[in-house]
Symmetry: C2
Subunit: 530 residues, 2 copies
Amino acid sequence: MKQNSTAKAAMGSGFTDGFHRALQISPDKIAAICGERKRSFAELGNRVSRLASALKDLGVRRDSVVGAVALNSDNYLEYYLAVPWIGGIVNPINFRWTADEIAYCLNDSGCRVLFVDDMFAKLVPALRAACAGLETVIFWGDGATPEGCLSMEELIDNASPVDDVRVQEDDVYGLFYTGGTTGRSKGVMLTHRNITASGFSILAEGAFGLGAVALHAAPMFHLADLMGTICTLLRGGTHVMLPGFDPARLAALVAEHKVTDLLLVPAMIQACLANPAFVGADLSSVRGLLYGASPAPQTLLDAILRALPDVAVRQVYGMTETAATISMLRAVDHAPQTRVEGRIRSAGTSFMHTQLRILDAEGQEQPRGEVGEIVVRGPNVMKGYWNQPEVTEKALRNGWLWTGDMGFMDQGGYVHIVDRSKDMIISGGENIYSIEVENAVASHPSVASCAVIGIPSDEWGEAVHAVVVLRPEQSLELDGLIAHCRQVIAGYKVPRSLSVTAALPISGAGKVLKTELRKPYWDGRDRVVN
Amino acid sequence: MKQNSTAKAAMGSGFTDGFHRALQISPDKIAAICGERKRSFAELGNRVSRLASALKDLGVRRDSVVGAVALNSDNYLEYYLAVPWIGGIVNPINFRWTADEIAYCLNDSGCRVLFVDDMFAKLVPALRAACAGLETVIFWGDGATPEGCLSMEELIDNASPVDDVRVQEDDVYGLFYTGGTTGRSKGVMLTHRNITASGFSILAEGAFGLGAVALHAAPMFHLADLMGTICTLLRGGTHVMLPGFDPARLAALVAEHKVTDLLLVPAMIQACLANPAFVGADLSSVRGLLYGASPAPQTLLDAILRALPDVAVRQVYGMTETAATISMLRAVDHAPQTRVEGRIRSAGTSFMHTQLRILDAEGQEQPRGEVGEIVVRGPNVMKGYWNQPEVTEKALRNGWLWTGDMGFMDQGGYVHIVDRSKDMIISGGENIYSIEVENAVASHPSVASCAVIGIPSDEWGEAVHAVVVLRPEQSLELDGLIAHCRQVIAGYKVPRSLSVTAALPISGAGKVLKTELRKPYWDGRDRVVN
């Protein structure tokens, strides 16, 4: 049997493929809308190829890491396309992090070039001081280019276009930092194939259909929103950017640009439904709503289904390590007419590209209804953790990703998640790893020991709550704790409430029994934990 | 950067993955309906794992070739699943071939085990005599097992189930012998990934949606129908088998089983529309109709759109070497309200997983509107031709498949195919694309259907010859045809001679067999094909 290596080498599914297809089919169609700015695919293609050229002149090579800290904009899309255009690796960064957290990420990834916008230009001096490897900072904001930064517009103006190198599909597209049980953020390596496999499967579910106009309302740095990006790129649709989340502005953009597809976290849905400008707006163009990344109470789902009765509402369960996709709760599972009792709070059934199992600690498949660890396999499963081979080998065993999430599968293959073994709180769509908050709380001089849990919040799904044992003769007020934590961790991770106790409940194995701590808060309520 | 080889090794998209997913989610759902026989996924899974086990006992190993010559049935689906279950390679064979042609194929593929049904059991002695390597013939028909054959039912009954070996996605799934319109039939090696990539992309276009019930009306040996198979498997839908094509039976199955998706060749559509039982049937369950494999006249498309106004009609352009997919003419391109002049006869725009270009002989991209060779790249492009490395290297250059089809791309990226380069007639140094002549001939009021070929000419090298099927009660003289064609096409393209026939020879794939038409003219002479 003759292997044809050149054929194999050039085939595949790259992040920029859909963009090239749109350039071929609809060069004059509007590709991106950002405020007053509308750019066609041809214009965007010209800008991307010039920006790629400029990055090359700045020393970006195959596998060079290029970061970004910025609000949503069409520039973000150009960044996502220009970096792989020359074989580089994107490193989109959570803009809610503190300068210290961002610096840790940039140093860990070996980031050499960083993009910032107006909002985050002020971080540059601190990042430069903390990141010796950071060579170049490029500014894509609307204001004047800050001292020591290059202007993205000037770079584009002065560069000559280059061709897309068309990387291999198993090359790394990006590093996506995620927290972990150790408290240190890890860079998840996702390949082009990982991301396009998730994209094709979401498209195969009917989202982002022909003529898609997608609104980027969730932060573009977030992998969930990147799914909207890849789906819209593959479909050749139009991207509409919402720089900062605001329900009234969201509704106005939907009505003005006839947005067809929304991707939101439940906290955003909640905020939208509470806003008269959203409820009264013309949302008739919307065909699909994807939500994920945090629990959605049934009352919220019922409210959104009442507000948007003709919209296909779909939940995605996934994680960074699986390029955001594992399973889907489909529109038929949501619709009141076809809904099956008890499944509305499940994470649905596996995507068509994933294989999903519930295993016990020995790797044996659990009977239906029995809780075990959720493991997953498929072309979407990450290549590994950046520079962390040991952690990678723990997570990826015999080709299966051990997610750390605990759940059971019902007779219909629906996955019900009962707990996250990583001890993670999801608040407003952000993953918060308890240990990281506990480290911050424990560093307060009055604290002897502590545990951090998620408690119910109508606004955020879950809110961060600290349970503290004080040192002798000490006292602690919430304000003081918050002020202390804000110096070390991002604002969204800081505890919103505090209780003081004489001793934490400890298991026989010496672990804090968080289920005991959670009980009084969740009693009589469903903690939805997907 | 740590490569995690175990993760890579186990991921991917195999042919049987969708089946396993259905086994997990809906074991009791009906998977296949064949006549009075209905089998659930669980039943089918049990049978497939036993059949795989029996094949293993018969010596089938990784990369062993296992053929089939049979009409459509649920057994065919079991064959398609059981062979890869133990790492074998399927070799589905065109049942319209002569025993000699089938024997050539079996010898070329090195087929060791062959499945046959009632209809083709009679071929077995001739095949045994001609194929020394053929060890075992397995009979899956309803009648008595013929002498020298094993019974599939007995094999299943006596075997113990085995687990699916879950091959790698880049392993060969099957050998698909090309129609043989030119020269010797070649075995196209398609990998698991080739086939699933096409499948996901067809699903992403909206075909075979949730709750799909697919009718196998086209022959299951054909790759076009295999696309229906993989899409339905991925979706976890129900397969309904139509053993021999018959419009009335087709309509009855649609009505009885609420078929949602049809995949037909234009000749079948024509036959359906001419049949009162089809036109009068309840076809309201049908959501999508895919057609391909040969061009469809606009009058035929208009008729089907009138007959099935709520059905999404989609054309697929592809070939065996691309796992049946290259481009699609979508439902919006067909619908009278949204149709764009001139595009209904095009092959549409590239699928989302393919890259498509029109190149000149030197490999330079042609300007829009200029004819060149259609080349394509993507995860669907074949691994190569079985045991034919030189031919493979001619077809696959720098990762692109050179299709041999000539066409141009319009400003909107739509591909217009003007001819298969093999069918191009060269007369007096002029390139003549036969489809253009055929369109002219077909527009004559006396002509029902036609084919145009090049025949030997001492003066011109080749001369244009028309073979015509007349409408009832009509006649046609050469002078009249010439006068008609001269009104539509240049003089050098007009047929120089004419023959009238009762029916055109059609391949199993629904294509006119021009080699058959040419044979009497070229016998004993060399036809120089550019």
